[in-house]
Amino acid sequence: MKILYFAWVRERIGREAEEIELPGDVRTVGDLAAFLATRGEGYAHAFENPKVVRAALDRTHARPDTPLGTAREIAFFPPMTGG
């Protein structure tokens, strides 16, 4: 699955995007965030407060309990501050 990071999530993880093979027990957006948090210090820092990290699945806002299903792209980012 293609994973994208933006703003301080991107900065803490130290990359903009990556392709990851997901373990079978990662079924939801929240599962994936928890899995990523175990991948190293930067990841742990990015996801230290999972409530403030938002996600979009195939470019649509998603919630922690949204199933990943057959989505091809997921993005993690802080609350939006545009406008």
Binding site: L4, F6, A7, W8, A56, R59, T60, H61, E73, A75, F77, P78, P79, M80, T81, G82, G83
Partner: protein, 157 residues
């Protein structure tokens, strides 16, 4: 006389011209009674007491931002009888006084144009994937989301 509805969203690094965008919604038409234009600008004094802002850098999610903005415009069209709407959001580095975002709404009646423009701005703030990074003297930081923006977005149900 053209009466086709005109709806546009655009994400761009370059500046926009509010007057040109507003004129595009009314040109050759005689069914429009109200045009509301909102321009959001970069301010120097965002943190009173703190160091003045040198610049804002707007990061966005290129694949999603345009799609999400189009969804917001669709939602506005479903709620108000608009003859047209234009939403433009810039990305990149902006200094105080620069334009950041433009919303133009046109309708036969003023209440629809006003409400749709306010709605689009409130939803843009909380739903469009853009993030502001501030540069101040010896400091750079990501702007935190405001609860007041969530409240503003929530009033639309």
């Amino acid at each position: 006389m053209s009466t086709a509805p005109l709806f546009t969203v655009r994400i761009q690094a370059e500046d926009f011209d509010a007057a040109t965008e507003a004129a595009a919604l009314t040109r050759g038409r005689t069914d429009i009674g109200a045009v509301v234009t909102f321009a959001g600008l970069c301010r120097a004094d965002d943190a009173p007491g703190g160091a003045p802002l040198i610049a804002l850098t707007l990061e966005h999610y290129p694949g999603m931002a345009e799609e999400e903005m189009a969804r917001l415009v669709e939602e506005a069209r479903a709620r108000w009888p608009l003859t047209g709407a234009t939403v433009i959001h810039r990305y990149g580095r902006m200094v105080p006084g620069d334009n950041i975002v433009l919303v133009v709404t046109a309708s036969s009646h003023r209440a629809a144009a006003f409400e749709a423009a306010a709605f689009l701005m409130d939803w843009l703030k909380t739903r469009a994937p853009f993030w502001k990074m501030e540069e101040r003297e010896q400091e750079r930081s990501w702007v935190a989301a405001k609860e007041s923006d969530d409240d503003a977005a929530e009033r639309w149900g």
